[in-house]
Structures are given as structure tokens and as C-alpha cells.
């Protein structure tokens, strides 16, 4: 069902790479709005917005913070609205703050979507050939972080039954007990890592060049999506070089110019951003169609 996830990692990685880059480069209110809407839509289609829901509040809070902060610290711009504690507040800095906040928000939610699509495995497949040792280390740490977390909890539970971590103990006592816990965790983990190393050696780790079983094959659909993406990307970048898709509120706020060329560029930009949505929607429609035929 989640078909965007099954595209070749190069395709999905480049998509996110480009869009994140766009949200830094193209500080145009309409472009930012498009990014924001398509990414929200992508979240909705990927997992019903479940992953986003957990953190969207904090993202919004952070963006709001940036939005308020900009006019307080910056007094650039020609349109002075008033003074707060001898500090001039300009319309331009407010608008710039809003744009900055939206851009930040976009990047944050884009990274969230990235996490859903590009699993560590895919990332390592993409970059593993360059740094095989590092790749392997990252894999092992992915495995052992939850193990350590669970061990820490187990140790603390046991120490509680032994009389540690009481509410009425002094801070010094608490520090001491914390150190004790850490010590147990480290001793235990060192001991077990010896066994892990032994099991790795037993299965031939380090005796020669490693191969990789992970392989993603480019299929025709990947090719089609790739071609569409590159085509649209070229148009968008050319337009950008000619000054389309940028907007600077400083020194004085300008109205948005809606020329035909601009609208064409915006359309291409929209199409580029909607690629994953098309892929996902097509799949849904296909399912719908199959079911109605059966």
C-alpha cells in the first residue's frame, strides 16, 4: 500500500534532499505554502499523520518562537509600524519572521516524513559503499541502543527493591545511587560485549572483504518517476537561476508579481512536490478499481 516507501532509495532520497533544499532556497510565500501543504498531505497518506501528530505541537511552538523573535531582534525594513521599548518594529521584519517560521516548520515536518520513508537500512545502502566500517558501526549501534535502555531499566528496578531511589534520600545519596547504576550497566555491558565480539569472530567478521546482501533493483516505475523528477527539477532550477521563486521582503515589502512565466514555474514546482502523492494516490485508486471490478 505504502508505495512511495518501495521506490528505489536513490529516488526517494533525492526527492527529500531537493525539497529540503528548496525550503531553504525559495523563501517565497506561495512556494513555502506549497511545500507545507504537500508535506502535510504526504504525512496523511504515509501513515495517516500518526508520526506527525506526536511532534507537530513542538514544531509549531518552535516556529512561533522564531516568528516572534525575528521582529524583536531585527529592525531592518522601511515600513515602521511602531516602537516597543525604543526598538523599531517593521512590517518587513514581521513578514520575514513569518516566512522564516514557515520554512523552519517545513524542514521539520519534511525530516519527519524522511524518517518514515528512508529507513536506516536504506540510508546505509546509499552511503555504505563509501564508508563500510562506519556503516557497520551504525548498524550495531542501532541494535544496542534499545538493549542498553532495557538493561538500565532492569537495573534500576532491582536497585529499587534493594532500597535505592527512595523519595526521602538526599541529593548526594541519589547521585551516589545513580553512579552505582551506571557502574552496573557498564560492567554488565562490557562483559556481554566480549561475548558479542566472540560471536562475531566465530562467524568470520574481519577475515576478508565484506559483501552486502542488501540490494535494491531499479525497475521501470523507478525509471519513470526518476525521469519526471529530473525533468521538473531542471525547469525549477532554471527558473530559480532567473530569479523565479524567490522573494525578499527587505528593504521594502513588494506585492507578489504573478506573471505567466511565474505561474508556469510554480506549476512545475507543484508537480515536482506532488510526485510522492501521485505515486501513493495511484496505488490507492488502483486498489479501489480492482476491488470494484471483483
Amino acid at each position: 500500500m505504502n508505495d512511495f516507501k518501495h521506490l528505489h532509495p536513490i529516488i526517494s532520497f533525492s526527492y527529500f534532499f531537493c525539497v529540503i533544499l528548496f525550503s531553504f532556497m525559495m523563501k517565497h510565500p506561495l512556494y513555502l505554502l506549497v511545500i507545507c501543504l504537500t508535506t502535510l498531505c504526504l504525512h496523511k497518506l504515509l501513515d495517516g499523520g500518526k508520526a506527525l501528530k506526536k511532534s507537530v505541537f513542538y514544531y509549531a511552538l518552535l516556529s512561533l518562537f522564531v516568528m516572534i523573535l525575528n521582529p524583536i531582534f531585527s529592525s531592518r525594513g522601511a515600513t515602521i509600524l511602531g516602537y516597543v521599548f525604543d526598538h523599531q518594529v517593521t512590517l518587513e521584519s514581521i513578514v520575514y519572521g513569518v516566512l522564516l517560521a514557515v520554512a523552519l516548520f517545513n524542514v521539520l515536518i519534511l525530516f519527519k516524513a524522511y524518517e518514515l520513508v528512508i529507513t536506516p537500512e536504506k540510508f546505509l545502502y546509499l552511503f555504505g559503499t563509501m564508508l563500510p566500517k562506519l556503516t557497520f558501526m551504525i548498524h550495531v549501534s542501532i541494535r544496542f541502543v534499545p538493549v542498553f535502555q532495557r538493561r538500565l531499566k532492569e537495573i534500576m528496578d532491582i536497585q529499587k527493591t534493594q532500597g535505592a531511589f527512595q523519595q526521602d534520600t538526599t541529593r548526594r545519596q541519589k547521585m551516589k545511587e545513580g553512579m552505582e547504576t551506571l557502574r552496573t550497566l557498564i560492567t554488565w555491558s562490557l562483559e556481554s560485549s566480549l561475548q558479542t565480539a566472540s560471536s562475531m569472530r566465530a562467524r568470520g567478521y574481519g577475515i576478508g572483504k565484506r559483501s552486502s546482501a542488501v540490494h535494491y533493483v531499479m525497475d521501470s516505475r523507478d525509471g519513470l518517476v526518476g525521469i519526471c523528477m529530473s525533468f521538473l527539477l531542471v525547469i525549477v532550477m532554471c527558473g530559480y537561476v532567473y530569479g523565479l521563486g524567490t522573494y525578499d521582503p527587505y528593504p521594502q515589502l513588494q506585492p507578489l508579481h504573478l506573471s505567466a512565466l511565474f505561474l508556469l514555474h510554480l506549476l512545475c514546482f507543484c508537480l515536482f512536490l506532488c510526485i510522492p502523492i501521485f505515486v501513493l494516490l495511484k496505488e490507492r485508486l488502483l486498489w479501489h478499481y480492482i476491488r470494484s471490478k471483483m
Binding site: I158, K160, Q162, T196, S198, I207, S212, A213
Partner: protein, 602 residues
């Protein structure tokens, strides 16, 4: 040509005074299933690790080990890695990669296999093990048994000729270990892979094994076919290798010994009968009963033989056996009364309508769970995997809070108690002893605990505890370097230093060798004599049948079938001792070897 030729091998760890292995001389043939038994610390693990260069520990080795005629040290590393596979005891620590699929690829990637080759081998292995449904799961979502299967599968992807298994089921519950061992038997049968395995639970594996080796203090005491080694074990004096015998074989040998003395007495009389007897016993040598089915065949024939004999002597046999049977029943009941049920001791722990769930949206793991334990009892709670046994224990220990219901200690609700007071009453011993150790030596650990409890820190004050637990020999050792049974003793000592009235044990016999189990049992008996109440959660039917006073089953969140041990096991059909299954038609109240011998007697 033998697969392994081990000639005069000794091994000493660095800075150790005595060697761990002493002049080992063994041959392992192709296609063998060699089982190594012996108390923990006898050198089983060290011996297994000698058989593969990659895992050989630091230390000095003398003697010669050859693999397929070549010296093991000279074996090419690619061959050594792929042809000799090893699976260790702890399921968790051997796994390197985050998902099952990646872990299965790991060994082949190390050896630089082609991608297509890797895919084919993984596909085969997954099919053979039937692990399709959890292939892409993260490792931490698997159970212990599944993890151990992943370890085995990962080793098998290299298509080894020999598998070394170092107590692979010690950390698993009985169901998972049965599945694992059956898999090993299949690998031996179907793929003809040579197996060398160390294991405590003879009952489950001995029928698959072709050879049995006994190690004691680094010496090979005996190494031969299974019946011969079992007979050898039985010939040794009580208590040395006896605890290792499967209970059915134990009964067989005990009965045989009894007969031998009878025959010995008869020798002075009728010689004709005697010769026949001896001949029949020789024949039996080759068919020592191990499984329930074999045990039953043997027992029934013995039972008939005896009764036919009695029939000749007296005419009223059937009457008499019925009487004897009844008397047997009556006796056990009165015995129980004499041994501490004359006046009913007060109820100490009461568990009343407790509900518990880990998260809001998942089902309750404990539902209306109620039971009580009287003072001085050894109460054992059984239950399937993940049914909430350990959870229940944790709610008593105060690590988890039940959503509803109360737990009372001699009438006082535990949740209203100050947590400090609660900790004084309750001692909790978890499954993993390593969690309790923070110091360099056992002695230091004990001293630290003393200070923590607020006693003056002099060693002579804990002399009593050291003596009670017989810890003298390893006081100066690092807690990580001593055996599992010894580690458990230290933990028990640490917990008991606070002098709790209730002791909670979470699977105390897990991973212990039979000798260590007997030591634990003696300790528990001593503690009960001091008025302590003990509750344990276990899978170990045989241990519980011998030492517990009360048993119950946790099922579907509630406690069922709570009764005294004899009733509990004699009324169960599936969930009972191997001994009871053998004799239940003739001796319905016998659940241990001792019971059978006592009731069978005259």
C-alpha cells in the same frame, strides 16, 4: 578418519594455578551427537571453545587437536569459520545486527558471498526453520527462544560440518528449549551435521544423542554410548552424577540395585533362579528407560512380575495391593500432617482481586488474581510463557503497581506501607544475577550491602551468612567470574542480609546444573526452617515436585488449581512430572522417584 582427534589436551587460563582441562583424550566421529555433561565449572565450555580457533580463550594449551586430520591451528580461517559453527548460551548477546534478516546475512557477508548465493541460502534456512513471519522483525521484539533460533540459523547459513553448542537452552523456558532441541535433532538426522553439545537437561536430549561424555574437574571421567554412560553414572556413589540422571532412569537403577542386593542374598540359596535373573539384567543394560513410554513399559512389566510372584506366594494379592495402595495414600496424608500442618500457620501474604495491565489499551495481564500464602510455605506459581508470572511477582515486590485490588502482608495493605518498610519485609531475587553486582569481589559486594543496610561494616558479622551459603571458597573472586549457581547464592545472600520475611524468587533454577539445584533446595529448606515464607515462579516441574509445599497455575490472568504439591501434580495430566506419568495408574499419588520407591516397597 575421525572428525576431531583430541590428544592429551590440557588448558590453563592465564594467572590460574590449576589447569581447567587435564589431559583430555577424546575422538569425535563424523555424524556423532556428542553430549557433554558435568557440573558448572567442570570445563565444558572451555573444552567446546578449544574446538574452534576463533573463540579459543587466552591461556596456555598443550596437546594436540586435529580436525579432519589437520592440526586445528593450521586450518585455513575461511574453512574454520564456515565448517565449524558455534552457538553460545546467552541468546541476546550473540546477535549483532538490528533485524533478523540482517543477522542471517551477517556471516555470509563476512565471508564475502555473492548476493544471489546469500539470497538462496537465507531463503532455504528461513523455510527450514519456519521463521517467515518474523524475518523482518527487529531483534528486540523476539522471545528468547526465537533469538536462539536466529543464532542457530545464522550459523547454519554457512553450512557447517560440525555444530558446537554451549548449553544453548539454559536460558530458555521448557517449551522453547524443547523446540530448539528438536531442531538440533533434525539437523543431526536430516543434514548429518556432527553435533557437540553441553547440556544439563538430559531428559530432553539424551534420546537424540549417540554419545555421552562426563567431565569432572577437567577430566573426562567417561565417554561412551548413552546406555553405557548412564549405567556408569548409576554405578558411582550417590550424589556425584546421580543428580544428572533422568528421573526415570534413576528409578530404574535404584530398583535394579535393590534387586541386586536381593539376588546377592539369594545367591546362597537357589542358584538356578539367580543365573536367569542375571541374564535378564544383562539384556536390560541395553534398554535403559529414558522416555515416559519406555519407562512405562518397563514399570508395568516389573509391576506384573512382582505381582505374579506375590500371587504364587499368597492368594490374596489383588486385595493386598489395593490395601497397600490405600495405605500408601493414607500415609502420605498423615506424613504431611506430621511435617508441619498440625496447626495451620497464619496467612502471611494475601493477594486479593488484583488487576494489572502494562498500558492503557492492551488487555489486562492479571485479572481478578487472588491467592494466599501461609507462613513457612514454599509456594510455586506455574504458567505459560508471558502469562504474567514475573509480572505478578513484581507487583508484590513493589516494582509495578496494580490498577485494582490489594496485596496484604499479615493483614496490612502493602500499598499503604512505607516503601522502606516494604523492602524490609520483601526480598526479591530476579532472573539475572549480574544486575546485583557492582563491586570487584564478592566480599566487597557483601560489605557494601552491609553498609547500605546500616550495619557496622565488619566481616565477622556476616560470617553467619557466609557459612549458611557456603561462600568461603569464592569470597575473593570477581562476581562475574564465578559459576551461575554461585552467583545466585551471592544474590540470595545480598537479599537475605536485609532479613526479609518473604522471599520472592523468579525462576531460581534456570540455568543451574542439577548439583547446584540440590544445593539451592537445601538452602530453601534451611530458610523455611527459620520461618521464612518463600514464593517462587518456575517452569521446573521436577524441582518443584520435590521441594514445594503448595502449587498453583496462573492462567488467563487468574490463579487456578491451587493445592498442595502432591495433589497438584497427581491431578494434572499434561503438567506433571515424568515420574507421575509413568506410574500414575499403579501409584496415583507418587510424583517423585522417592515417592515411587517408598510406595512400591512391599
Amino acid at each position: 578418519m575421525a572428525l576431531y582427534q583430541i590428544e592429551d589436551v590440557s588448558f590453563t587460563y592465564p594467572e590460574a594455578a590449576a589447569p581447567v582441562l587435564k589431559h583430555i583424550h577424546v575422538q569425535i566421529e563424523k555424524g556423532d551427537f556428542m553430549l557433554i555433561i558435568g557440573a558448572s565449572g567442570c570445563g565444558k565450555t572451555t573444552l567446546l571453545h578449544q574446538l574452534k580457533m576463533e573463540v579459543r580463550p587466552e591461556g596456555s594449551q598443550t596437546g594436540k587437536i586435529s580436525y579432519e586430520g589437520e592440526a586445528l591451528e593450521q586450518l585455513e580461517s575461511f574453512r574454520s569459520v564456515s565448517e565449524i559453527g558455534i552457538v553460545f548460551q546467552d541468546p541476546e548477546q550473540q546477535i549483532v545486527m538490528p533485524t533478523v534478516w540482517q543477522e542471517l546475512n551477517f556471516a555470509m557477508e563476512n565471508l564475502g558471498y555473492e548476493r544471489e548465493d546469500i539470497q538462496r541460502r537465507v531463503a532455504e534456512i528461513v523455510h527450514f526453520f519456519g521463521m517467515e513471519s518474523w524475518l523482518h522483525m527487529p531483534i528486540q521484539a523476539l522471545s528468547g527462544g526465537q533469538k536462539q533460533m536466529v543464532n542457530l540459523a545464522s550459523v547454519l547459513t554457512l553450512r557447517p560440518k560440525v555444530l558446537l553448542l554451549d548449553e544453548p537452552t539454559a536460558q530458555l523456558d521448557p517449551v522453547a528449549s524443547q523446540t530448539f532441541l528438536e531442531l538440533i535433532a533434525r539437523i543431526h538426522e536430516e543434514l548429518s551435521v556432527t553435533i557437540v553439545m553441553s547440556e544439563h537437561r538430559l531428559e530432553q536430549v539424551v534420546s537424540f544423542a549417540t554419545k555421552l561424555m562426563i567431565l569432572q574437574h577437567g577430566n573426562v571421567v567417561h565417554c561412551d554410548t548413552v546406555p553405557s554412560t548412564l549405567a556408569f553414572m548409576a554405578r558411582q556413589e550417590e550424589g556425584v552424577f546421580h543428580p544428572f540422571l533422568p528421573s526415570i532412569s534413576k528409578l530404574f537403577f535404584a530398583k535394579e540395585k535393590e534387586e541386586k542386593t536381593l539376588v546377592g542374598q539369594a545367591l546362597h540359596g537357589i542358584e538356578q533362579v539367580d543365573n536367569r535373573r542375571i541374564a535378564s539384567r544383562e539384556a536390560q543394560q541395553h534398554s535403559i528407560p529414558i522416555t515416559v513410554r519406555e519407562g512405562k513399559t518397563w514399570f508395568v512389566s516389573k509391576w506384573r512380575e512382582r505381582h505374579a510372584q506375590k500371587h504364587r506366594e499368597q492368594d490374596v494379592v489383588s486385595n493386598k495391593t489395593m490395601l497397600a495402595n490405600k495405605r500408601g495414600k493414607g500415609e502420605t496424608a498423615t506424613e504431611k500432617e506430621v511435617h508441619g500442618y498440625v496447626t495451620t500457620p497464619p496467612v502471611m501474604l494475601e493477594f486479593k482481586d488484583v488487576y494489572f495491565q502494562y498500558e492503557k489499551d492492551i488487555p489486562f495481564i492479571l485479572q481478578k488474581a487472588s491467592f494466599h500464602i501461609r507462613q513457612g510455605e514454599l509456594f510455586t506459581l506455574f504458567g505459560g510463557n508471558g502469562c504474567g508470572k514475573s509480572t505478578l511477582l513484581k507487583t508484590i515486590a513493589g516494582m509495578l503497581k496494580p490498577q485494582r485490588g490489594s496485596i496484604y502482608w499479615s493483614g496490612e495493605a502493602l500499598h499503604r506501607m512505607k516503601s522502606r518498610k516494604r523492602q524490609e519485609i520483601i526480598g526479591y531475587v530476579g532472573q539475572q544475577p549480574l544486575l546485583y553486582f557492582t563491586r570487584e569481589t564478592v566480599e566487597e559486594q557483601l560489605m557494601t550491602r552491609m553498609q547500605q543496610l546500616g550495619y557496622a561494616g565488619a566481616l565477622h558479622e556476616i560470617q553467619d551468612i557466609i557459612e549458611l551459603f557456603e561462600m568461603e571458597s569464592f569470597l575473593k573472586s570477581h562476581p562475574y567470574d564465578i559459576s551461575g549457581g554461585e552467583q545466585q547464592k551471592v544474590v540470595l545472600a545480598l537479599v537475605l542480609m536485609a532479613n526479609p520475611s518473604l522471599l520472592l524468587l523468579d525462576e531460581p533454577t534456570k540455568g543451574l546444573d542439577p548439583k547446584a539445584k540440590e544445593n539451592l533446595a537445601l538452602l530453601l529448606i534451611k530458610l523455611r526452617a527459620r520461618g521464612k515464607t518463600i514464593m517462587m515462579v518456575s517452569h521446573d516441574v521436577e524441582f518443584t515436585a520435590r521441594y514445594a509445599t503448595t502449587c498453583a497455575l496462573l492462567f488467563d490472568g487468574a490463579i487456578t488449581a491451587m493445592s498442595d504439591t502432591t495433589t497438584f501434580f497427581s491431578e494434572n495430566f499434561f503438567f506433571t512430572t515424568a515420574m507421575h506419568r509413568v506410574v500414575k495408574e499403579q501409584l496415583p499419588t507418587a510424583i517423585t522417584v522417592e515417592d515411587v520407591l517408598a510406595q512400591w516397597g512391599t
